[in-house]
Amino acid sequence: MQDLSVGTAWLHSFLTDYIPEWAAVTLECLLIGVGLMLLYAVLALFYILFERKVCAYFQCRLGPNRVGPWGLMQSIADMFKILIKELISLNHIDKFLFALAPYLVIIASMLAFAVLPWGNGLQIIDFNVGIFFLLAVSSIGVLGILLAGWSSNNKFTLIGALRSGAQMVSYELSMGLCVVTMVVMAGTMSVGGIVEAQNHLWFIFSGHIPAIIAFVIFMIAGTAETNRGPFDLPEAESELTAGYHTEYSGIHFGFFYLAEYLNLFIVSGVAALLFFGGWMPLHIPGLDAFNHVMDYIPSFVWFIGKAIALSFIIIWFKWTFPRLRIDQLLTLEWKYLLPINLFNLVLMVIVVTFGLYL
């Protein structure tokens, strides 16, 4: 397995040879920031096209295919359009909060990128409460949505925001408990540590029953966290026109649009990290030759590939299921997922304590 940290370490030592340490770190941070932004934009554009194509194939259509080869340039055209679209200034709104809300949403999803395990040694920051940090920053997003709904001075956005608040706060519990379950399994909260712990076998296999239950719940809660169908109540088109972002136009709307897809990536990335070994290749104990071949595939390909495969499942949900009603949504969380989750946590502790894992 090639370790990409060799490259980053070389860059650091190269820079410190010529400039003082503080300047080198600043420069690296800037480089990472720019790289992250680029990655962010590229991923979002890819995801938008990916979803449009996938949904088209589900619906026996072709999807975008006129702009560029196979429609590849479609989302780039959309981006240019939305960048220069008019930002409508509204009267009778809280202008500061209205302008702040989309940035909160997008910053929340950007921060979460920092701790994702992109590849072997390709992690921006790996500290001992990484997964905890991820949960914490991803819940800033709900604040943005609440503010957006509140500051728009519109009844539809307000209902959308309140729905979203109720939904996100509830499902964050499930997500947190799933993460805790897997942290019990890994024995560490550091993202790097969790990946390393899956060196011989991914958690979804080694943790068997409790891990699979946790995975299913995580996918459901993750879909709800990202406000996607069948949990897309905050922006339920047939009920609330466009939900909390009804009043947003131009690039501000674009931010919400991007953040939705990026959150999709983050949720599937975290699922890949917790259950499918992050960047860790597929290793099966005993099959050394197979494991060796798997190691030749670069680690970031593993991670991004897993994340996209998992987001495909979430997209599949959206284009298959009808939407839930708000009371059914909350019933699902508080009456079913939460008790199962607590029981599952106990089960996992038993499994770990008695060493019943593979």
């Binding site: 949904c55 589900f58 619906q59 026996c60 259509r61 009844k155 539809f156 209902i159 729905r163 169908g229 069948p230 897309d232 109540l233 339920a236 088109e237 047939s238 009920e239 026109t241 284009w319 298959t320 299921f321 009808p322 939407r323 839930l324 009603r325 708000i326 009371d327 059914q328």
Partner: protein
Amino acid sequence: MSNIREKISTLLPEAVIEDGDIMQVTVPDAKWHDFAKSLRNDADLSFDFLVTIVGMDWKENGMGCVYYLTSTKFNTHLAVKVMATGDRERPLIHSIFDLWAIATIYEREVYDFFGIIFINNPDMRRLFLNLDWKGYPLRKDYDEDPSINPVSIENERQTDFTDVWIETADGKIEKHERRIFQPEDFVVNIGPQHPATHGVLRFRTAIDGETIKKIDIYLGYIHRGVEKIYEKLTYPQTLHFMDRLDYFSAHPYHHCLCMLIEEAAGIEISRRAQVIRVLMDELSRIASHCLFIGTYCMDLGATTMLFYTLRVREQILDIMEKTCGARMTFNYDCIGGVMQDLHPDFVKDVHALLDVLPANIKEYNKIFTGNVIARNRMENVGVLTREDAISWAVTGPNGRGSGWACDVRKCAPYSIYSELDFEEVVREEGDSMARFKVRMDEMVQSARIIAQLVDNIPEGDYCVKVPKVLKLPVGHWFKMVEGCRGTFGIYLESDGTTNPYRLKIAPPCLPAAAVVDHITDGQKIADLITIGGSLDYIVPDIDR
């Protein structure tokens, strides 16, 4: 018939009884409310279904209304004519809103078009036109000068009050104001431009959290004044508007008007034309229900279903396009038969459709009907009891979902329906799921009818000769057919010229929209979408 006659003469000796295919009784306004009460409640009469109220302006002979009543128990029909009292400035009739719930809306419609005030009706606002509209358009002396009611981009006046005319104990009529929404209500405006209202319908919804307290329905955002235009057109010209009311039931609606005019003019049409008409009716019923299923699932968030159902619809549209030459506005049925003979491929194409249809219906059920989310969203949501369905005149698949066997094809068979073998789909639950499933099963029944007919289309003329200038004798007629969304009626009054004196359309979608307030009470906002979708109203059909 004769016992109704006797019964009525004992109930009200001064009633003038006039025979026809539907018996018409003329009643003075002073006795009307009591008479209506006995019509509705008498065990031997039990006229519990108010089909429509036709407002009329007989110029110097005064104004009045013709009420069409049906008894669901005995399957008998009756028309009651009530002349308005008072002068043209303020014609008055007593309201019957307390006997038939749907009368509230029907009376508002008459008030809007003719200015007839209904005493005691709790809501005497205009229904289709702006509050500030000048004049009553269906009166014969209405001034159509566009400068009186110009097109304006000023927002219409909005008020929370409505007028009520109350009769005091000493017989005086007083005007009062009544509040629709209380000052503390949180009122959300849904529509007219809203993705889920299926067109330009507007609900003002008072909500408490996510729970609906009250809905006030606003119509007229696509009111095109068709009934007034009819009075300026000759009979063959009136036909093509039928395509543009409920554009999914274009064939059944055409069928209704053609039958009515043929009956009035005494034209016999060939059996081939009858069979072709029925075939087209049933094909459009399948196409319409397909689109219903698709859009309904889309309202509930399952967008993909729309694309699967539209696939079948496109196939049906292809069949129709080959014969009729259009995808939506066919204008195919004409007086004396149909416009064109069937396309040579027709039989082959219909067989191809019948081959794929069962598999498709099975697929829809597999994807959607059994889904746990769909069941939770639809079951026990928007329950409409049989009594309420009759009182609100909710016909068609909606009524049959509530256990009311109201299919005109069965209870008053027209054309060749009496010879055909099919079942009337009735379900007892009355919730959104029942309405959905009724439509699903009706597609199967329609396919059964088509299968019986398609191989036995008799030879003959597709259209008989009709005089170029068609004049109908003096008189009035009423005809009902089963449209894709329920009982569709047309009232025609002729004064012997080439144009209709009055042509009134009784659409099935108006009651369906009117009942929304009644069945959404206490439900969630999301249920409003479920219920509205399951009632499947077409707004141009409501507004005409």
